[in-house]
Symmetry: D4
C-alpha cells in the first residue's frame, strides 16, 4: 500500500464517495494485499526486485521438476527475469516445456531466462583456488552476470603457488568487489584481502577430503581470516556470494 492508494481512499471518504465502513474495509484489505501469488506449495514473490534489489530466485534443490516448472512459468508470466539455482537436466527439461527460451548453464547448475542489464558501478571478480572449485565459482559467475554485473573470472590461483595469483595482480586490483572461492584450507580470501582495498566475499567449498569435513575447514578458515574486509557466505553458496556482490556493485 503506497501513499497514493491511502490518499485515494481518504479522498473518497472526504467527498462522500465512500462510507467509513467501506473505507475501513478497503484499507484493511490493502494492508493485507501482498504482491505474491499463491501456488499452494509456493508463494511467488513478484515484487522482490523492487523491495530488495534482487529478483525472486528459485532454489531448485528439493523441488520436483514439476514444481520448478510451475514456479518458472509464473515468474516469466509476470515479466520477471528467471533464475533457478541448484537445479539439473530434469528440471530444465520440464521448464523448457513452458518457457521455451530458457537457458541451462551446465557447470553452474542454473536455469535462466533474461538478465538484468549490467548497470553495476564496476566489475565483480570471481577468483577460485582450484579446478575442483569450478562448479561453485561458475554458480557465482553466472548468477552475478544475470543479476546485471560485469564479471571477470580467475581460476586455479590457490595460495600454494603464490606466483600464479601475484601474476594477475592487475586484474585483481581492478575489481569493485571480489568473490573468492576455495576449498581445503580456504586461505585464498585472506591473501587476496591483504592485497586489495575492496570487499572480499569468501565462499568456502566442500572440495577436499578427510578433515575438510564437507567444507567446514574452509568455512572456519575464512571466518577467522586475519585480513580485514572479508565476509563469508555458506559452504558452496556461489549464488549467495553473487547476490551480496551485486548489491555492493549496485548502489541504491
Amino acid at each position: 500500500m503506497d501513499q497514493d492508494q491511502l490518499r485515494d481512499v481518504l479522498e473518497r471518504v472526504a467527498r462522500g464517495a465512500a462510507s467509513t465502513d467501506q473505507a475501513a474495509a478497503e484499507l484493511t484489505a490493502l494492508l493485507r494485499h501482498m504482491p505474491f501469488e499463491d501456488l499452494g506449495f509456493a508463494r511467488v514473490d513478484h515484487h522482490r526486485a523492487i523491495r530488495q534489489g534482487l529478483p525472486e530466485v528459485v532454489f531448485g534443490a528439493g523441488k520436483t521438476p514439476e514444481q520448478v516448472a510451475a514456479i518458472a512459468e509464473r515468474i516469466v508470466a509476470a515479466g520477471q527475469p528467471l533464475l533457478v539455482t541448484r537445479t539439473d537436466e530434469a528440471a530444465y527439461a520440464a521448464v523448457a516445456q513452458v518457457v521455451s527460451d530458457a537457458q541451462f548453464h551446465r557447470v553452474a547448475h542454473i536455469i535462466s531466462r533474461g538478465a538484468r542489464a549490467a548497470a553495476g558501478a564496476g566489475t565483480i571478480l570471481v577468483a577460485a583456488a582450484g579446478t575442483s572449485d569450478l562448479p561453485v565459482a561458475e554458480e557465482a559467475r553466472v548468477s552475478a552476470e544475470l543479476l546485471g554485473n560485469e564479471v571477470d573470472a580467475l581460476y586455479d590461483v590457490g595460495v600454494a603457488g603464490l606466483h600464479r595469483l601475484l601474476a594477475e595482480r592487475e586484474r585483481i586490483e581492478r575489481a569493485r568487489v571480489i568473490i573468492a572461492v576455495a576449498g581445503m584450507e580456504g586461505a585464498l580470501p585472506s591473501v587476496i584481502g591483504g592485497l586489495v582495498g575492496v570487499p572480499v566475499i569468501a565462499v568456502p567449498t566442500s572440495v577436499g577430503y578427510g578433515a575438510s569435513f564437507g567444507g567446514l575447514a574452509a568455512l572456519l578458515g575464512m571466518l577467522n581470516s586475519c585480513a580485514a574486509g572479508v565476509a563469508v557466505v555458506n559452504i558452496d553458496n556461489g549464488f549467495g556470494a553473487a547476490a551480496v556482490a551485486s548489491l555492493i556493485n549496485h548502489p541504491p
Copy 2:
C-alpha cells in the same frame, strides 16, 4: 617501489651515473624495502591504508600493555590514525603515556586517536537484536565511525517483537549497508535482509547459553540465512563487520 623510483635508477644507469652492479643492488634493495617497521615482536605496516583502504588496526587481545603502547607510538609517529580493538583499561593507561590524546571507548573496548573524515557514499546502520549484544554492536559502530563513515544505530530490535523492528523501517531503508548484530538464534539478518536492497553484514554474538555454544547457533543461522544479500563475519567480530561495511561504503 613505484615506477618513478624504477625510472630514476634506470636513468642514472643510462647516463652513467650508476654502474650496473650498483643499480642491481639498488633495485634489489628497493624490491626488498617494504613499508613496514620491525619492532622485533611486531612488524608495523604503515602503508596499509594506501594498499587496502583501511589503516593498520591493532588487535589488542593477547598483547601486553607494553606491546600495545609501543605499536601505538610507532603508528602515531608515522602520522597514521590509531585504532586498537579488543583492548582494556590497562592497555589504555600504557598508551596514554605515549599518545597523550588517545581516547578510550569503554563499551566498545577500543582505543583510538584521530579518524578518517566521513567520505562514505552513504550511511552504515548498526542494528542489534538485544541489549546484551551492545559491546559487539558498539565495537562495530565506533570502528565504522573511525574508518570514516556516517553511522546510525538501532538497538534491541530482535525478531521476537517484530513491531519494534518494523517501526523503524524508514531508518533501515535509508542505509547503504547494514550491520546486523545478534546472538541466540541470530535471525535478525534474515528478517532485515528480506526488507532491504542493500548488503547486510551479519555479526553473530556469543550472547546466549546452553545450546548457543558460544555463538555457534547464531553463526550457523546467519550462514544459512534464507535471505539473499547476507554475508557473515566471525562471532563477536564487530570490527570485522565495520571494515567490510566501510569498504562497501567507500567505492575505490
Copy 3:
C-alpha cells in the same frame, strides 16, 4: 491390574474360594500381565492409547516390509487405529495384503487406517517456511489429523519475505497450537512465537546445504529462539510435533 481385579482376588480369598497360595500366584500373574503382544521381533502395545492418549505408532524406518505388515495386522486385529510413519511403497504393498483398506499418504510417507474423531479443543496450524520443507510438514499435518485434530496448513511463509507471513496473521492467531517447520536458519518459530499467545512446536528440517549440517543449524536456531513459548522436536520429526500438539489440543 486395576482395583477391581485386585478386589476380586481378595474377595475370593475372604470367602474361601481361593487359597492364599493360589491368590499369591494370581496376583503375581496379574502384576506381570502386560497389555502387549510379543511377535518375537516386536512387542505390540495395544493399550498405549489408554495409557498415553496416543495410539501405538509404528516407526517404519529400519523395519522390513514383512515386519511392518505383521505389526500392522496385529494392531488392526486388536481394533486399534493404524499409523505407520517413515515408510514407503514397498511396505505399503506388504501392508495392503493384510490390511486391505490401509491408505498410503505419499508425500508424508505414512500408512494409515482409521483415525481418531476430531475432538481437539481447537485447531492445529502447520506452518512451513519453504516448498522443500513439505514432506516434513505433511508428515505433521497427516499425523495430526489421524490423531483426531482439525488442522490448518500454511506453506512457503519463510521469514525472508515477511509479508507472506503477516498476510496470514488471522489464520495464525486462530490456532490453539502451532507447528512451525523450517530448514536453513530455522527462524520461522521465533517470528511466529513473537506474534501469538499459544505454544509453538518447532520442527527443524534437514533442508539446506553446506553449513546447515543436516538440519543442525535450524535445530540450534530453534533451541535458542528468543521468543518465549517455543519448544523443539528432533530434526525432520513431523510426527513428533503432531503428537505433542495433539496432546496440547486434547486436554486430559
Copy 4:
C-alpha cells in the same frame, strides 16, 4: 492500531473534522506507533501480555545491574508484573532501590514483583532427576507460578532408581503438563513420556562432566526420545519450559 482508532480517523474525515492530509499523517503515525518504550539500550514491550499471553520477561544475564533496574522500573511503572531471570544479588540490590517490594528467589536466580493469578486449566508438574538439577528446576517452578499456574514439584527421581519415580505415579498422572528436568543422559522425559498422556516439556541441564559436554548429551537424548509427546527447550532453560507449559495450561 485497533479498528476503533481507524474508524475514528475515518469518521473525522467523513464529517470534515480532519483533512485527508492530516488523516494520512495520523494513520501513518498510528501504524508506526508501537506499544514499546525506548530506553536507548532497550525497548520495553508493555503490550506483550496482550499479544503473547506472557508478560515481557527480562533476561538478566549480560545486563548491568543499572540496566536491569531501569528496565524493571519502567515495567512496574506501566503496571506490568515483573519477572527477571538469570539474575543475581547485585541486580536485586539495584532493583530494590527502585522497586521496593521486589522479591529475590535465590535458588532460581529470579527477581519478581506481583504474579498473574493462577487461572490455568490444571497443574504443572516439575520433575527433576537429581539434586544438582535444582537451580534449573526451581527456575521453572518459580517462573510457572509467577505466570499464573498451580505447580507441583518432584525432585531426585532419576531413572537409575525407577522405584522413586514409580512411587509418585499418582502425582505424575494428575498434571496437565509436565516439565522434566535432567542432566547426564537426560532419560527422565522418555520414561515419564511413556507413562502419561499429557505433553512433556524436557529441559536438559548442564549437570554432568566429561562427555556430557555442557548438557549436549542430555539435549541430544531428549531430542531423540523414543516416547511420543516430548518437546525440548534449550539447555538449562527453566523459564523457557515454564513459558511453554503455561501457554499449554492457559487455553486462549
Copy 5:
C-alpha cells in the same frame, strides 16, 4: 514388597483378620512403599546395595556442603557405608561435623566411612598412563577398595615408553579385571587389551591440551580400540570404572 509380606496380608484376609478393603489398602501401600528416604532435595536409596550390588554413592559435584552432610548423615544412620565422590575440603568439613569418623582421600576427592570387606574373586589392577592422570586413577583405586576389592596400581606406564609397561607384564597378567586410565591419545587400553585375557575398563581423562578437547580424543580412541575386550566409561569417571570392575570381580 516380598512374597512374605504378600502372604501375610493374604493370610490375614483368609482368616478374617483383615477386610478386603483394608487388605487392598495395605497391598497398595506396600507396593508404594519404597526403600528410600525423602529429604526434599534428595531421595536417599537405602536398599541399593541389595538391589544393585553397590551401595548408594553420593555424587558430590553441584551439591552444597550442607546437602552432602545431610545425605551422609542419613546414610550412616541407616547403617550403610558412606562414599562421596567429586567432593572437596569444604564438604568434608561439613560431613565431619555429623559423621565424626569420616575419612577424606585428598587426591581422589572422596569422603568415605567404612568399606565393604574384600570378597572379590580376584584383583583389580588400576593402570595409568601418566603422572597427570593420578587424580582419576586414585578415584578409581580408592573407590574399588571401598567397594570391597583387592586393588593393585601401576602408574606412568604410557605407550610412548613401552618397556615401562612390558616390564610389569606379570602384575598385569595377575588381574581379574583391569582399569586403564589415560589422557592424550588414550592408547593404553588398546595395548593392555592386546596383552591379557580379562576385561579392560578404559577411563579417558581430560589430561592434555589443544586437540584433546577435554578428553574427547582419548574417549574416541578408546571407543575405537582395535583390541577386543575393552569397554569405556565417561571422561574422568574413575568411580564409574571402579563400579563396573567391582561388579565383574563380585560374581552375583
Copy 6:
C-alpha cells in the same frame, strides 16, 4: 618363548651340545619367533586365544572377499574357530569355497565355523530397545554364543513402554552380565543398570534420525548414564560387547 625352550637351550650350552654363538642365535630367533603367519596383506595371529582368551576374529568390513577367504582358510587350517564379523553374502560365497562347512548368520552379518563350548560362569542377556536395533543385537548374540556362552535375548523393550521391560524382570535378574543395545536416546542401559547388580555393557546403535547423528546421541547418553555399573562400546559394535561380556563370563 616359554621357560622350557629357554632352559633347553641353556642346558645344551651347559653340556657342550651347543656353542655360545649358536645359542645366542637360537635365543635371538626364539625371541623373534612370533606365533603369527604373514599373508602379506595380513598377519594371522594363531595364538590369540591363548594370550587373550578370545580367538582371532576377522573384521570383514573393508576387506575383499578374496582376502576374507584367504584369512579364513589359514585360521581353519590352524585348527582355530572361525569368526568373521561385518561381512556379507559375497564374502561368504568366497569363504564357502575354501571352508565348506562355514555358516552364514544373515541378520548378524557373521560367518562362523565351530564354536567354543559354553563354559561360562552364567548367562549373558542381550536386551534391545527396538526392532530396528536387531542387526546389532544379533551380532552380539551370535558372537557371544560362538565365544562359548549361554545367551538369552530380549528384544523391543525400550523405555517408552516400561511395562514391557519390567514384565521380564526375572529374566533380567538371572544374567551374569547384560548387553543393552539401544539407538535414539539410548536410555535402556541406565534403566536396566538401576535394576540389577551385574555389569551392563551398553551398545549404542546408529538407529534414529535427525539429531541422533549416526548414534552419537545414544553414545553420549550411555557414557553419561546415571546408573553405576554401565560401560560402553563403540556405536553398532555388537561383537565388541560380546567380547567384553564373554571375558566377564569366563573367569581366567
Copy 7:
C-alpha cells in the same frame, strides 16, 4: 627473474642498447612472467620441482577425465614426471589416450609416468595397522617411490597384537623416516614413535565405524600422541605423508 636476467637488462641500458622506457617495460614483464601454463580451468606449474623439491602433482578427485588428461598431457610435454592421485579407471583411460606409457596403480589410485631416481638419504618405511588401511598405505608407498625414495612396507602391525610389530623392530629401526598409517584409535604412531629416533609422519585413515567419525578418532589420537617426534597429515592423505617424508629424506 634471476640475477642474470636483471643484469642483462641493466647492461643493455648502460651501453645504450635499450632505452629506460624499454627497460622498465622489460623488467615489469619479467616480474610478471611466471613459469606456469594457463589451460583456462587450470594453471600448470612447470617449475614446482625447482622451487619446491616436488613435481607438480595432480589431485584427481573432482576433476573430469578430460581435465585430468589435458593436464597430464601438458606436464608430460614439458618433460616433467607425471603423478595423479585420487584418480580412477576412467581418468586412466583418458590419460592413456594422450600419454601412452602412463601406468595405473590400482590399489593406490594413482596414475604415473616416469619417476625421480632414488637419491634419498635413506629408506622410508610405510607401516600400516590393518589390512583395511592398505589403499592409503599404498598411496603413500607408490607416491614415495615416484618421488625418488627407497621404500619398505610393513602391513597389519596394529597395536592390539604388539608382538607382530616388535618382531619387525629391526626393519623399523633402519628407516630414515617412518610413515605410520592407522584407522580406528590410531595408536600405531605413538607406539612406533616411542621405539625410534626418526620422525614419524602419521596418517589417520577413515577405516572404522561408529564413533570413528570418518577418521576423526584416529586424527585426534595422532595429534595428541604422547610420543615426541610425531607429526600428522590429513585423514587418508597417503600422498601428503609421502611428500613430507620425501622432503625429509632429500636434504636440500
Copy 8:
C-alpha cells in the same frame, strides 16, 4: 639387554661358572631390567636419548611443583639434560632448590639445564604469523635450541600482509626445516610450503576468538593445506614441532 650381556651369561654357562637355573634367572632379569627409575608417581626414563634421539622431556602441566622438582633432580643426577615444558614460576622455584643452575625461559614457559651441542645438519626456522603467537613460537624456538639445533626466528609475518613475508624470502629459503606457527585461519604454512622445498611443521595456536574454537580453525586449515610438504602437530604444541624438526635436522 645387548648382545654383550647375552654372550656373557652364555659363556659363564658354557664354562660352568653359572648353572642353567641361575642363567635362566639372570636372563629373565635382564629382559625385565629396564632403564627407568620408579619414583612411585613417575617412571623416569634415563635412556630415552639413546633410544629415541631425544632426551626425556618433562610435561609440566598437571604436575605439582614438588613432582616437577623430584623428577628434575633425578634427571640431572643421571647426567641428562633437563627440559621441562608448560611450566611456571612456582615449579621453577621448586626446581631451583634442587638444581641450582636451572634456567627459566619466561615467555616459552620452559625450565632447562644444559643443552645438546648444535650438531644439526642445518638451520631450523621458526616463523610466526602474529605477535599473539609468540608464547608458542618461543616454546618451539627454545626447545629446538636445547635439542641441539641452530635456530632462526621470524615473527609477525602473517599472510594478510604478504610483503612482510616475501621480504624475508632469503632467510626462509636457507632453512633445512621450517616450523610455521599461526592462529586464526592458520594459512601461513600453506603459503610458506608453496615457497620452499623443505618440510614445514605446522603448529596451530589457540590465538583467535569466536569461530576459531580454541585453535580448531587453524588446525583444520593446516591439515587441509593445499601445499605438499606440510605436517601438523597439536594446537599450541611448540615443543612437539621442535622435536620433529630436530629429528629431521639430525640424520640418524
